[in-house]
């Protein structure tokens, strides 16, 4: 945790690390585990899928569940009904009510479907879930999700898997300014500086997957992401200097030796 910072609180869940990472797209369970460890995260996303009856080994056997909280997602759901069903299955399997709600509009854009997301959020909250809701970077929609009871709102930085960074930093800042629940930038992060930028905007957390998993060296990139969130968060807490158009000397202009 950064000196002077507080824990990130989402419902009854508390985290020292503000970095959330996904567990998809890795070459092996071993690589995934090494990347998760190198990132320092305390919370990873997982997807709910049919048991593969022919497959040996399970993802969860490769995670230190004493230290890491699982955040089941509803990836692959395009309706509120499917998302709610998926969350209930996840809760039954894990006995844990924290979920990442993600209802997408279509397979091409992978952008959030706002009406279905909102409907699912309301139903899940009424059913006792702690909902972290994935959404676009629309400040109004973020507010609607908060009003619907979301415990955290997760605006995208850029489309899922794009690695384009924070496309609309002003929108992210406005979302944060109006929110009273944690804001976690989710999706679009391509490299370490994107994570720092997000935290410098004041957000409470960042969730990423492809930015680590698709790096040439995922474990090294996971380590870079840990530096990046800490650097960005510390910079935000430190309060940056006001930018200015004119130069300003850093060394005294008095006491110079005689010029020749």
């Amino acid at each position: 945790m950064i000196p002077g910072d507080q824990q990130l609180v989402i419902g009854r869940y508390r985290f020292d690390s503000r970095l959330f990472v996904g567990t998809g797209k890795y070459a092996s369970f071993e690589q995934m585990r090494s990347a998760v460890d190198a990132s320092g995260t305390e919370c990873v996303t997982v997807a709910v899928r049919r048991v593969d009856l022919g497959q040996a080994g399970n993802l969860l056997d490769h995670l230190d569940l004493e230290r890491i909280t699982l955040l089941p997602n509803t990836a692959g759901c395009y309706t509120a009904g499917d998302a709610v069903r998926t969350c209930r299955l996840a809760r039954e399997a894990l006995d844990c009510e924290l979920v990442k709600l993600e209802v997408l509009a279509d397979e091409k854009t992978l952008l959030p479907e706002p009406l279905e997301t909102l409907a699912a959020c309301k139903e899940l909250v009424a059913d006792g879930f702690v909902v972290a809701a994935y959404t676009s970077d629309d400040p109004v929609m973020a507010l609607r999700l908060e009003e619907a009871g979301a415990a955290a709102v997760m605006p995208l930085g850029a489309p899922i898997g794009s690695g384009l960074g924070i496309l609309n930093p002003r929108a992210i800042r406005r979302i944060k300014a109006r929110a009273s629940v944690p804001i976690i930038v989710d999706a679009g992060v391509g490299t370490a500086s994107d994570v720092s930028v997000a935290f410098e905007l004041g957000v409470d957390g960042v969730l990423l997957n492809t930015g680590i998993a698709a790096a040439d060296d995922p474990v090294l990139m996971a380590s870079a992401m840990q530096y990046a969130w800490k650097a960005g968060r510390a910079a935000f807490l430190a309060g940056r200097m006001a930018p200015r158009d004119e130069a300003s000397p850093s060394s005294p202009t008095q006491g110079l030796v005689a010029r020749s």
């Binding site: 899928r49 048991v51 399997a93 899922i160």
Partner: protein, 73 residues
């Protein structure tokens, strides 16, 4: 052959299966080698809580979904 003996036709994760009559959810799960892992079972789109797996008998034609967790973002 015992008159109660027989088989049930069920569907598990989209695949048709035959199991002995009288098979419970717990029995099926054990046969599938899932043991004590983290998974959830639905029958005909309704969750069967883990506490009921031992006594819940399967019926002919039922459709089961058994899910677990995989890597995802």
């Amino acid at each position: 052959m015992h008159p109660d003996a027989g088989e049930l036709q069920i569907t598990v994760n989209g695949e048709s299966r035959r199991v002995p009559a009288g098979t419970t959810v717990a029995g099926l799960v054990s046969t599938l080698g899932l043991g004590a892992g983290r998974f959830a079972v639905e029958i005909d789109a309704r969750i069967v809580p883990r506490s009921q797996h031992a006594e819940r008998h399967l019926a002919d034609g039922e459709v089961l979904e058994i899910v677990t967790f995989v890597g995802g973002g």
